[in-house]
Symmetry: C2
Subunit: 467 residues, 2 copies
C-alpha cells in the first residue's frame, strides 16, 4: 500500500510537472509576445520594415518563377535574392551605402578577377594554380589590412569585403576565359537587380531616413538635458521640504541615454551621408555638425550626471545654506534648460534660434549675481563643511552655463550652414512638425551593439514649447 | 611676341601643374604608407590577421584546383570561399560566433526550405509559386522582425540573416525534389568546410581572443583612471606655482577613451561568450562581471572628466585656500589612484586584490580629516567665492572615493566568481604577464563604428606596480 501511495505521489508529481510544462511554455510565449508588442509599439517602423523586407525578397524571387528570366541567369539568379537579404537595411542611407558598396566592389573586383584569370592562364597548366593562389593571397591580405584604416572602415568596410569575395570567385573559378567573363557579367547583373529592388522598396515604401533620425536624435537629446535642468533647481532646493524626497525622479533621468550614444550618432551620420536630399534636408546637409553638437551635449550630460548625483545623495547642504544660493541657482538651471529646449526646438523646426540669447544672458546674470552675493560674506556664521555640496552644485551649474553656451554656438553654426529659416516661419514649421508627427513617428534611437539603430517613440512637439 | 610669351607662360603654368601632380600623388601615397605603418605598429596582430585571412582563403580555394573535390561540389564550392570571406573575423569569439550562427542557420533553414518546397509542390503547378511566395514573405518578415529583439540581435543577428537567405534559396529554387535536397546538402557541406577552415586558421595561428582583450581592456581602463588620480592632486595643487601650467597634460588625458567604450566592451563580452577556455580563462568565465566593472569605471571617469575641467580651467581657487585642503585632497586622489592601479594589477595577474583595502581606508581617513578640518572654521577670513572651485574639487574627490569603493567591490566579486589566486602567486603571475607581453601585445581596443574592435598597444606591467 505504502509503495503504491508513494508511487501515486511520484506519479502525481510527474504529471504535475508535465502539466506545468505547457504552463511554462505558455508563460514564455506570452512574454515573447509582450516583448514583440512593445517593440512594435515603440517604433511601428519596425513592423513596416519587416514587411518591406518580405516584399522585396518575394519580388526578387519572382526571377526564379518566370522561366525566361531564369533561363537568362541560371543559378546566378540566387545572387539577386542573396543581395536583397544582405543589403536591405533599416534606413535608406544604410541600404544605399551597402548597395553602392556591393555594386561598385563587384564591378571593380570582377574586372580585376577576369584580368588575373587571363594573366594566370598564360603561364601554362602548372603555373596557373600557383600564380592564382599567389594573387588571391596577396589581394585578400592587402584588402583585409585596408579594412583596418578607420576612414575605409567607416564607409567602405562592406565594399572591401565584397571586393575580396568577388575577386576570389571570379579569378579562381576554373573555367575557360569566355565562361569567366559570362560569370562575372551574370554576377554583376543579378547583384544590380537585387540592389535596385532593395533600394526601390526601401525608398518608395515608407522610407526611414537615417538623416532625419540623426536630426531628431540630436534635438531630442538636447531636449532631455533641458528637461532635467528645468526641473533640477526646484527639485534640489525645494524637493526635500515638501516631503517629496521619495518622489519618482525617473522622469528626470532621461538624459542618461545621452551619455552613451556616440557610436549611434556616428553610424547614423555615416549612413546619412549616403542619402539623397529628402524633405527639409538637401544632399550634402552638414551632418558632421550634428556630431559636434552631439559631442558638446555629452560633455554637458556628464556635468548633469554629476548634478543628478547631488540630487539623489543623502547628504545635502542644510536648508539655511541652500536658501542663500537658491534663487540664483534655480534661475541658472532653469534658464539653461529653457535655452537647451529652445535650441532643440530650433533644430526640429529648422528655424534660427533667437530666444536663446535672452535665456543665456539671464543665466549669465544669475551666475554673476551668485558670485557677487557670495562676495558679500553673508556666510560667516555657517559651518564650511556644510557649504561644500551647495558650492559644488553651484560650481557645476556655472560649468553647465558654459557648456550650454558652446552648444548654442554650434547650433548657430548649424543654422547658418544648413540655412535655417528665420523665426517668422516657426509657427508654420511647428505645424509641419506636428503634421509629420501624425504621419510618422519621429523617433529616437537607442545605442546598440553593432551601431545599427533601433528606435523608440518620443513626444516631439510639446505645446509648452510653442512661443 | 606678346601672345607667344603669354602662351609660354600658360604652358609653363600647365606643365607646372602637371609636374605638381605626381608630387601630390607621392605625398598622398607617403601619407597612406605612414598610416599603414602606424596601424601595423599600434597592433601587429592586424598584420597577422591580414595574412591569416589570405591563407584561409587560399586554402579553401584549393577546392577549385583539385579536380576530384571540384567534381563533388560543382559550383557550390564557391560557397566555401564565400563563407571564409564572410566569417573570418579578428577575434576567435567573433569568428566562432559567426561560424556557428552560419552553420546552424543553414542546417535549420535548409531543412525547413526542403519541407516548404515539398509542401508547395503538392499544391499543383499553379498553386506552387503562390504558396512559395507566401511562405517566403511570411518567413522573411517574421525573422526580420525577430532581429529587432535586443537579445537576438546581440548574439544571433547574423544567424537570423543566413536563416532567411538559405530558406529563400532552397525553397524557391525551381528544381525537382531530389535536386533541392542535393543543393541543400551541398550548401551545408561547403559552408561547413569554409567555417572549419576559418576556425582552424583563426584558432591555431596566433589566435586573438576577445576574452583576453576584454580582460585587459577593463584592467587598462582602471589603470588609466588610476594614473590620472595619482597625478591629479599634485597637478592641481602644485602645478601652477612651479610655472608648469603650460606643461603637456596629455599624458593625464588617457582616461578620455574610457568615457566611450561601452559598445566595445559589450560586443567583446558577446564575442567572449562564444570562446572556449583559453590560457587563464575557463569556458563560462564570468564575462558579464567585466561589463559591471566597466559601467562603474565609466561612472568614475565622468567624475574624473569634471576634475580635469578644474585642472584646465583658468579660474582656480587662490593659493591660500588651496593650501588648506591640499594635503587631504592630494592624499585622497593619490590613494584612490593607487587603489585603482592595484585593482587593475589584480585583474591582470588574476590574483586577489589585497593592498586595496589599505589604500581605501587611507583615502577614507583623508576624507574624514578633510571634513573635520573644514569644521574647525579656519576659513572665516577667506572670500567664499574663492572657495567654490576648491570645494567642488574636494566634493568630486569624495565622490571618486565612493566610486572607487564600488569598483573595488565589483572587482572582489569578479575575484571570487573567477577564482582568482591569492597574493602569494602575484610575483609569479607578474612574470607570466611579462612573458606574455613579450610574446604577444596585450592590447587595448578603441571604440569603433560597428562594434568590432581595433586595438592599440599599451604598456601593461609597469615595474612600479610590483609590490
Amino acid at each position: 500500500m505504502t509503495a503504491n501511495t508513494e508511487n501515486d505521489g511520484s506519479m502525481a508529481k510527474g504529471s504535475g510537472r508535465i502539466k506545468a510544462l505547457p504552463k511554462r511554455a505558455l508563460a514564455k510565449i506570452a512574454e515573447v509576445a509582450r516583448t514583440a508588442k512593445k517593440l512594435g509599439q515603440d517604433d511601428p517602423r519596425r513592423v513596416t520594415h519587416s514587411l518591406k523586407v518580405g516584399l522585396a525578397i518575394t519580388l526578387v524571387s519572382l526571377l526564379y518563377y518566370f522561366q525566361p528570366l531564369f533561363d537568362g541567369f541560371g543559378v546566378a539568379a540566387m545572387w539577386a535574392v542573396l543581395t536583397v537579404v544582405v543589403v536591405f537595411e533599416f534606413s535608406v542611407g544604410a541600404t544605399l551605402g551597402k548597395g553602392l558598396n556591393r555594386m561598385l566592389a563587384t564591378l571593380l573586383a570582377g574586372a580585376l578577377g577576369v584580368g588575373a584569370h587571363h594573366l594566370a592562364s598564360l603561364s601554362g597548366e602548372k603555373g596557373e594554380p600557383i600564380l592564382l593562389g599567389l594573387f588571391v593571397f596577396l589581394l585578400a591580405a592587402t584588402v583585409t589590412f585596408i579594412r583596418f584604416f578607420p576612414r575605409m572602415k567607416a564607409r567602405y568596410d562592406y565594399g572591401l569585403m565584397i571586393f575580396i569575395l568577388t575577386f576570389c570567385l571570379v579569378s579562381v573559378s576554373g573555367y575557360r576565359d569566355d565562361e569567366v567573363l559570362e560569370m562575372a557579367h551574370k554576377r554583376l547583373s543579378t547583384i544590380l537587380i537585387g540592389s535596385f529592388a532593395s533600394l526601390f522598396v526601401c525608398v518608395f515604401i515608407c522610407p526611414v531616413w537615417a538623416g532625419s533620425d540623426l536630426h531628431s536624435l540630436v534635438a531630442v537629446n538636447l531636449e532631455k538635458i533641458g528637461s532635467f535642468l528645468e526641473e533640477f533647481g526646484n527639485e534640489y532646493f525645494n524637493g526635500l521640504e515638501e516631503g517629496e524626497s521619495k518622489k519618482d525622479k525617473s522622469n528626470l533621468e532621461g538624459y542618461k541615454t545621452v551619455l552613451n550614444c556616440k557610436n549611434t550618432e556616428e553610424s547614423m551620420a555615416n549612413f546619412a551621408r549616403w542619402e539623397p536630399g529628402h524633405s527639409q534636408f538637401k544632399f550634402r546637409h552638414p551632418w558632421k555638425q550634428y556630431l559636434k553638437i552631439g559631442t558638446l551635449s555629452r560633455k554637458c550630460a556628464y556635468r548633469v550626471d554629476a548634478l543628478n548625483g547631488y540630487l539623489n545623495s543623502e547628504i545635502k547642504a542644510p536648508l539655511k545654506v541652500r536658501r542663500k544660493i537658491e534663487e540664483s541657482c534655480i534661475k541658472m538651471s532653469f534658464e539653461c534648460g529653457q535655452a537647451l529646449k529652445e535650441l532643440a526646438m530650433s533644430i526640429k523646426t529648422m528655424t534660427s534660434p533667437t530666444a536663446v540669447d535672452l535665456h543665456m544672458s539671464n543665466a549669465k546674470t544669475s551666475a554673476k549675481n551668485l558670485k557677487s552675493f557670495l562676495k558679500t560674506g553673508l556666510w560667516e556664521d555657517t559651518d564650511l563643511l556644510e557649504v561644500i555640496p551647495a558650492a559644488a552644485v553651484a560650481s557645476l551649474l556655472i560649468d553647465v552655463v558654459a557648456c550650454t553656451e558652446s552648444i548654442a554656438d554650434s547650433v548657430n553654426e548649424l543654422a547658418s550652414l544648413a540655412h535655417f529659416k528665420s523665426l517668422e516661419y516657426r509657427d508654420q514649421a511647428v505645424e509641419q512638425v506636428q503634421v509629420i508627427k501624425q504621419k510618422q513617428i519621429l523617433a529616437q534611437p537607442l545605442a546598440s551593439i553593432d551601431g545599427t539603430h533601433h528606435v523608440i517613440t518620443i513626444e516631439v512637439a510639446s505645446p509648452s514649447l510653442r512661443k
